[in-house]
């Protein structure tokens, strides 16, 4: 009985916090996060790897609706609301990738059966090579060093990369931002 009462009190508290949340502010933060992740994902997997027409705002809205509807249960004692919503966005994006991969496999099977030999969209692997070539041409050695470090199994975190390359974390952050910007531009994902 005491457990049940505690659960009801907890639910009331969650309800109150969800009611009081500033959804405008959360929406902007979450959409910005989703936009970043979505663009990186498109670059990583190639342009056609994700279902078309799904915007960052759509993903953020899906996450919010799932949490508010209870489909994804948020428990305040395990962390704040925004990080939890971010994890829901990550999960939704992961699910989108899985769905798209299944669809692509089916398409490949169909194409094989039809002996169709169309040009495939550039994959993430192609794009890394494209990025390397462009950086070499522009003599962006600091950025190439990042790629080399990651290729050498350095943990892909700013702190680890900074330690490996002997520079500050702030410097690595700047390099990563520049590298990502160039990568997206080359892949045509800079305005999506």
């Amino acid at each position: 009985m005491r457990q049940a009462s505690a659960a009801m009190r907890g639910d009331a508290e969650v309800h109150r916090q969800l009611e009081d949340a500033d959804w405008n502010d959360i929406g902007i933060r979450l959409a910005g996060y989703a936009s970043w992740k979505l663009r990186t994902l498109r670059w990583r997997l190639g342009g056609a790897a994700l279902p078309a027409g799904k915007s960052a705002e759509d993903v953020a809205a899906d996450a919010i609706v799932k949490v508010l509807s209870g489909e994804r249960a948020w428990e305040p004692q395990r962390g704040a609301l925004l990080p939890y919503l971010r994890s829901v966005v990550d999960s939704l994006l992961s699910h989108m990738v899985d769905s798209a991969a299944t669809a692509r496999r089916a398409e490949r099977e169909l194409a094989r059966e039809a002996r169709y030999a169309g040009g495939a969209a550039a994959s993430g692997a192609d794009r890394v090579e494209q990025l390397r070539v462009a950086l070499a041409r522009e003599q962006q050695h600091a950025l190439l060093a990042i790629i080399d470090a990651v290729a050498a199994h350095c943990e892909p975190r700013p702190q680890a990369l900074a330690a490996h390359l002997g520079v500050s974390v702030a410097d690595i952050n700047n390099r990563l931002k520049r590298l990502r910007r160039i990568a997206l531009r080359l892949a045509g994902e800079d305005k999506r």
């Binding site: 009985m1 457990q3 049940a4 659960a7 907890g10 639910d11 969650v14 969800l18 009611e19 959804w23 405008n24 502010d25 959360i26 929406g27 902007i28 933060r29 979450l30 959409a31 910005g32 996060y33 936009s35 970043w36 992740k37 663009r39 990186t40 670059w43 990583r44 960052a56 705002e57 953020a60 809205a61 919010i64 609706v65 508010l68 509807s69 209870g70 249960a73 948020w74 428990e75 994959s123 993430g124 692997a125 890394v128 990042i146 790629i147 990651v150 050498a152 199994h153 350095c154 892909p156 975190r157 700013p158 990369l161 490996h164 990563l176 590298l179 990502r180 990568a183 305005k191 999506r192």
Partner: protein, 581 residues
């Protein structure tokens, strides 16, 4: 670090992506910067997602937060006690427990009950976003009585003056059209997306707009024009023709440019004909000219997504000589004239525009509209060219060519029909509004006020969301106009024009480099006097939204219109305007 083979290909791309994502926006400023980088207005996103959250919160009486099974095991003892209590209550009241459960539901989910209503059809379920309803027997629905839940959760009455409609046999949600009133919002958009311009569907998808959809019944709107109008239209069959190259109206019998013009000049339009675009637009001109001289005061609000930026108050007066086919005595042959005088704000009070639309002249090339602007401070009059007829308002979207949805000189555009379909179109009322006779020459029409989002203190939608506009399904021509003037502000105009009533409903404005700059919602109304001697058409409200610029202009007529059939002969002259200052 290990001595393993270096990462290559997709594995390297995955690792780099992980490094990139370690910098994903963690604070508000970074999130806004990311959104701006992809060309999205952060404020719009914030409002849209807040609306989505509000919709979700309001669509449920409670927000479950824990897995049902865990909670259920914890609540078993409580449930047993409740069951016991309900049993005792039933025994005491002498009724079945379902009554108590129903009473409980009605208080636990008041919004759901209010939105769906006791008489709501099955298809009304999307209105509330509630659970899918079990089909119920057909019932009579009064649209006037059916509360409608808007996307932001407000319960408001639908637009007035709607006819009662009868609900059909229950249908599944996929069997559209539904003959009863229903709410078109984000949840029900899938039912109607194909019937809307893409930009309008995007408004609804973002939660910027929601509409009541009604079905006035087959043929019901035909009577929005009096029998005399239809008789005159029938008499015009094969009487006129237009050359698609210049879009000028000519009479077949004389091969001359002709007047008078009463009724639709082209009662039958063949969409495949090269001249179809011009024919459709001449029909639009004829329906606009129906009432002759008219006067109204309107406000034009320039709006950002979240607030009003500016308000203009204007007195609009228009007349058409098409019905009479007469030349204006002191100004040569005119087809129409317009005067627009600013009543506010103070710094613009007295500023005026006068437009004379020359009639057709057989012996001369087409003459564009003559437009003048009067500045009361300098007492100076200057001429306005075609480029100056657009973008005069605070938000830069509304211009002289936008009154009545389209008020440009149609011969100055190359028109073509690009499509023929059904569409959901905005109307103030599908039935004609009553015109009241004030005297032998004066009549008035009362128009309902339309409330915009920025005027509601509790609004959670965009500033330009509007109440009171209803959508109906109508057959439309999709007509495209390309201005002949190269310096016109827009490169292309697309209009959705009713195939029977020839009123324009949606207006898409493209920049010269083919980018959609703005979308216009032209809510149409029809009006008739009780004896059928006077009829009118008009646009109220008129909303032009630029999603690209996150701005809008909203024109609303205040109170109503006055029709005057005996204006002074020089009323539409700059001399008269200046004299009245």
């Amino acid at each position: 670090m290990t001595d393993r083979d270096p990462l290559r290909g997709q594995a390297l791309a995955d690792a780099l992506a992980e490094a990139f994502d370690s910098l994903a926006p963690n604070d508000r400023a970074a999130a806004e910067a990311e959104l701006r980088e992809v060309g999205v207005d952060p404020r719009g996103v914030g409002q849209s997602l807040r609306a989505a959250a509000d919709e979700q919160r309001h669509s449920r009486a409670t927000i479950p937060t824990r897995p049902a099974r865990a909670l259920w095991t914890q609540l078993l003892p409580l449930a047993a006690m409740l069951a016991f209590g309900v049993g005792v209550g039933w025994w005491w009241r002498g009724g079945p427990p379902e009554q108590l459960a129903a009473a409980h539901l009605s208080t636990a989910q008041p919004r759901l009950t209010a939105a769906v209503g006791a008489n709501a059809p099955v298809d009304a379920a999307p209105i509330a976003g509630g659970p899918s309803a079990t089909p119920t027997p057909a019932r009579h629905i009064s649209c006037v009585e059916l509360p409608v839940e808007f996307d932001d959760g407000r319960d408001v009455a639908p637009a007035p003056l709607l006819p009662n409609v009868e609900a059909p046999e229950p249908r599944t949600a996929d069997e559209w059209p539904v003959d009863a009133a229903w709410h078109l919002g984000r949840r029900s958009l899938r039912l109607a997306k194909a019937l809307l311009p893409a930009s309008v569907a995007a408004w609804i998808e973002r939660g910027d707009a929601g509409f009541t959809v009604v079905s006035p019944g087959d043929g019901a709107m035909h009577d929005n024009y009096p029998p005399s109008f239809w008789a005159a239209s029938d008499a015009n069959d094969e009487r006129f023709y237009v050359d698609p190259n210049d879009c000028r109206l000519r009479e077949r019998a004389t091969d001359a440019i002709s007047a008078p013009l009463t009724g639709l000049p082209f009662p039958k339009v063949d969409g495949a004909d090269a001249a179809a675009g011009c024919e459709v637009m001449w029909n639009v001109e004829a329906t606009t000219a129906l009432s002759g001289a008219r006067s109204a005061t309107a406000t034009i609000d320039a709006l950002d997504r979240d607030k009003q930026r500016d308000r203009l108050v204007v007195n609009m007066q228009a007349t058409s000589f098409a019905e009479k086919g007469a030349a204006k005595p002191d100004s040569g042959s005119l087809r129409a004239a317009r005067r627009l005088v600013f009543l506010g704000p103070d710094n613009l009070r007295g500023t005026a525009y006068l437009t004379e639309r020359p009639g057709e002249r057989n012996d001369l090339p087409d003459e564009p509209d003559r437009t003048w602007a009067y500045d009361p401070k300098s007492r100076h009059v200057r001429t306005i060219d075609a480029a100056g007829r657009t973008g005069m308002s605070g938000a830069g979207l509304f211009g002289l060519d936008d009154f009545n949805c389209f008020d440009g000189r149609l011969e100055q555009f190359r028109w073509k029909v690009t499509g023929e379909s059904d569409a959901l179109v905005p109307v103030l009322s599908p039935a004609p509004l009553p015109i009241e006779r004030l005297s032998a020459t004066r009549s008035q029409l009362a128009l309902p006020n339309v409330v915009a989002g920025f005027e509601r203190p509790d609004a959670t939608t965009v500033a330009w969301s509007i109440d009171g506009v209803t959508l109906v399904r109508r057959p439309v021509w999709i007509v495209e106009g390309e201005p002949r003037e190269s310096f016109y502000a827009y490169g292309r105009i697309v209009l959705y024009v009713d195939r029977e009533l020839y009123r324009p409903y949606w207006k898409l404005l493209y920049t010269p480099d083919e980018m959609l700059d703005a979308t216009g919602l032209c809510s149409q109304y029809w009006a008739r006097s009780s004896d059928g001697s006077l009829a009118a058409t008009g646009t109220h409200p008129l909303l032009i939204v630029s999603d690209r610029r996150a701005r809008a202009d909203l024109l609303r007529i205040q109170d109503g219109e006055v029709f005057d059939q005996q204006l002074p002969e020089d009323w539409f002259s700059m001399k008269s305007i200046i004299a009245s200052q």
